[in-house]
Symmetry: C2
Subunit: 477 residues, 2 copies
């Protein structure tokens, strides 16, 4: 397989995805089944995601901490839905220091239980509330069918865990963090998302209610991109998380949890990429601008390189790379940086130097006629503006793509056709039986019941009975 | 136990250490034996350590990535010293997804093996070298006797792993990163360290040579605070990490690894703390300045609070907290922030407001007579200067303490006495038998053979035979 040739997205999206990850060196397969190595370029995207989210978490009063990787098996069993949901996916440590353990330890699939245990110890009175802690961590879920970034045995995420004095505050927190994810997705990743509530069958194991942001990938499948759970008092009761209220009476707390993972890198790849490779949203791109000097001989080099270095100098504060590799042609470099999705490429050749211009190419508009010459002394403001323009353009393009692939079928036959072409937005009576029927017939699941819908009444797309809400249905990742 | 009363360091250093961690809310015991929860205040120190180190790693050309938590047992067995050193400390996953695994998976105690496997895949030619990757990760070592931060089953660290074309480059890298650790310890943590080589018996399992920075704690014991290993070609040969050189011939790489962990938080606590609690070095302190407003009634409050808020505003860019908790007295707050080691406390009372002054107290000089009144309009420059002065003062004090507790005994009897009072710096013939004798007689180990010693000849402190080098000996953590 050629280094810079990918399968077409239209003909084989799945293989395009696998290859672009390998060829852009985002990640690699680990020698343990279903595990991944996140390579430096992929990890740099994650670090930018972390920065963007962590800032938002801290601005909303959260602090970071670190809870243990290992959880006693008995902890999971304390919340019955939780253990039921997670027990098929557990990795279990049975030996430590050469000895068989008395109680097996689970490698955390998520941390509600162990954090619940600690919260019960730390929280004494209403003065200790709300308790707003996040952790950046690795978790393990023993998945059978794995895909790089989308579903791996081990993955990286943040998990927020909060405890509150009232149901109302817990609800507000759940919504605030979902809104935070949406803001991040739209304004940092240029990924348009639809937020709403998960159906009962799709909610988090142990939650009262789960909320989600859902994004449409380039093959029209849905990707759950971040979730926020209102846990009610389920974990508070299982772990005895109680506080003394103002009247000195003991009350159970109300808790929430919310998470966003390295899966989001998959969302970025599949939302923006094209047949030439990645297209990274400027605010998360590890390299925002690459400078490729163009020369054919030593004389041209001596003219071009000082200008290239001056451009690099001028662009301080913007993540810029000067590609001064000597053994590669400019054409090879263009392909290389296109594969890696760098938003802006600057070309500087002898002609540019003579004209005191610089040539700028946008990754999201790779045609030659979209290249622009700009005056060298206007470089930095031009680039700053362009980075924002590219962000807006990516978001607009993805939103348009999504909106043209959401259908509102009139009957169940049309519904089934819609699912092949995209998402269906349909009345649903709320019955699990109808949801199950859809899944059986189309492999589509309920993605979410969106907040943003006008109240009304309709007929359930499956059974025809009265429905009060519409839901999005689609095949998912 | 009282909230703000600690055991005296002189009479029970070990118990002082445990209690200060709990009372300053740095960490807590997890429900799994030997594991810890790093609480938000402790984790904030680690985040500052991460920032300070990560900046240095990136400046020296390193990039971050993430390698899997799970390592096939067979990988460890490929390097014989490595498996011998680590096998007593392994946590082993034997079940996944409800099934017994064909090959048990080790929870990484360190990642030379799995990274070696990936490097063998990624490195093809001299053009791919040097490969300079770091990861921030959790690792697990099944320790029998554990202490918060110092030795826990799971801990957090960074591990750098690099591959080079020549032995010389690998050696340079090993030294560069040791020097980086030293620079960090001294200039960020105000922890004076002595750098040198580990003895054969103390080196990393699988290394050719190990280097260390060693710090003296407040009870005079030594703490190994960061290590850098020249792995020679041991792992390259075990994992077949090879490259084509300029002559198109296949060569084995030379590799290094280097790590610094949350153990360093223990070093900070034990180097600087006093009987009132933590003293945090200003450049790593999560809160550098705390403002405590002082008032007895609503009228005074209305005078004091606006000035306190103005001070907070002025100190933007400095990590400042305004302690506006209403149910606590100023005296309680003073104790609280002293326990937590905040370098500077600002007190603002009605008298200060009248005089247009602000009262400043240094955590490292807690006596009343060391408090200073400064003019309110000079607040920020005063604080900035003072943060540096406190850093210098902490470093000076710790260095003086260390130097007065390093002895150069003339004979083995004096040596044994020296070990009770501090470190011994003595000629050593290099024989493992002499090292073992010292350990048996005094519990002291070879800390390092320092780089910084004048060449000469002496008599081994144990056997009296000719010795070419001096080494530091002490009891360690």
């Amino acid at each position: 397989m050629s280094i810079y040739k990918l399968p077409k997205r239209k003909s084989n999206f799945s293989e395009w995805y696998n290859q672009v990850i390998q060829k852009a060196e985002l990640a690699d397969y680990a020698p343990v089944r279903g595990c991944m190595v996140v390579r430096p370029y992929g990890w740099a995207i994650w670090e930018n995601i972390q920065k963007a989210l962590d800032k938002r978490f801290k601005e909303t009063g959260h602090v970071n901490a670190a809870f243990p990787l290992f959880i006693p098996m008995s902890f999971l069993e304390k919340e019955k839905d939780h253990v039921k949901g997670f027990s098929p996916e557990l990795a279990v440590v049975t030996y430590g220091g050469g000895q068989k353990l008395e109680e097996p330890l689970v490698v955390r699939p998520t941390s509600e239980t162990i954090i619940g245990h600690m919260y019960a110890k730390w929280i004494k009175s209403y003065r200790d509330l709300p308790l707003l802690i996040n952790q950046w961590a690795n978790v393990v879920r023993w998945e059978m069918r794995t895909r790089l970034f989308l579903r791996t045995l081990e993955f990286y995420w943040q998990e927020g865990h909060t405890a509150h004095a009232t149901a109302e505050e817990a609800k507000e927190e759940t919504m605030r963090m979902l809104e935070t994810y949406k803001d991040f997705a739209v304004n940092e990743a240029a990924v348009p998302v639809i937020s709403g509530q998960k159906s009962e069958s799709e909610k988090f194991a142990g939650a009262l209610r789960s909320y989600t942001i859902e994004a449409m990938m380039g093959d029209t499948r849905a990707l759950q991109s971040g979730t926020s759970h209102n846990l009610g008092q389920n974990f508070a009761k299982a772990f005895n998380i109680q506080y003394l209220d103002h009247n000195n009476e003991l009350q159970y707390c109300w808790t929430t949890s919310w998470g966003l993972s390295t899966r989001f890198i998959g969302a970025i790849i599949m939302t923006h990429g094209d047949d030439q490779g990645l297209i990274l949203p400027p605010r998360l791109a590890p390299i925002q601008v690459v400078i490729v000097p163009i020369f054919r001989n030593a004389e041209e080099k001596s003219i071009v390189m000082p200008v290239a270095e001056m451009a690099l100098e001028q662009l301080q504060g913007i993540r810029t790379k000067l590609d001064n590799r000597t053994e590669l042609t400019p054409g090879f470099k263009f392909n290389d940086w296109e594969m890696r999705g760098v938003p802006i490429r600057i070309e500087i050749g002898p002609k540019d130097v003579n004209n005191k211009t610089i040539t700028i190419a946008r990754r999201d508009k790779p045609n030659k006629e979209d290249k622009k010459q700009v005056s060298a002394d206007q470089l930095k403001p031009t680039i700053l503006e362009l980075l924002d323009a590219i962000h807006d353009s990516l978001l607009k393009r993805a939103t348009a793509f999504r909106d043209t692939h959401i259908f509102t079928p009139d009957n169940y036959n049309d519904f089934k056709e819609a699912i092949v072409k995209g998402w269906a937005y349909s009345w649903w009576c709320g019955a699990p039986a109808c949801e199950a029927q859809i899944k059986e017939d189309t492999k589509a699941t309920t993605r979410c019941i969106p907040f943003d819908q006008t109240k009304g009444k309709g007929k359930c797309i499956v059974c025809g009975k009265e429905a009060l809400e519409k839901a999005y249905f689609s095949r998912g990742y």
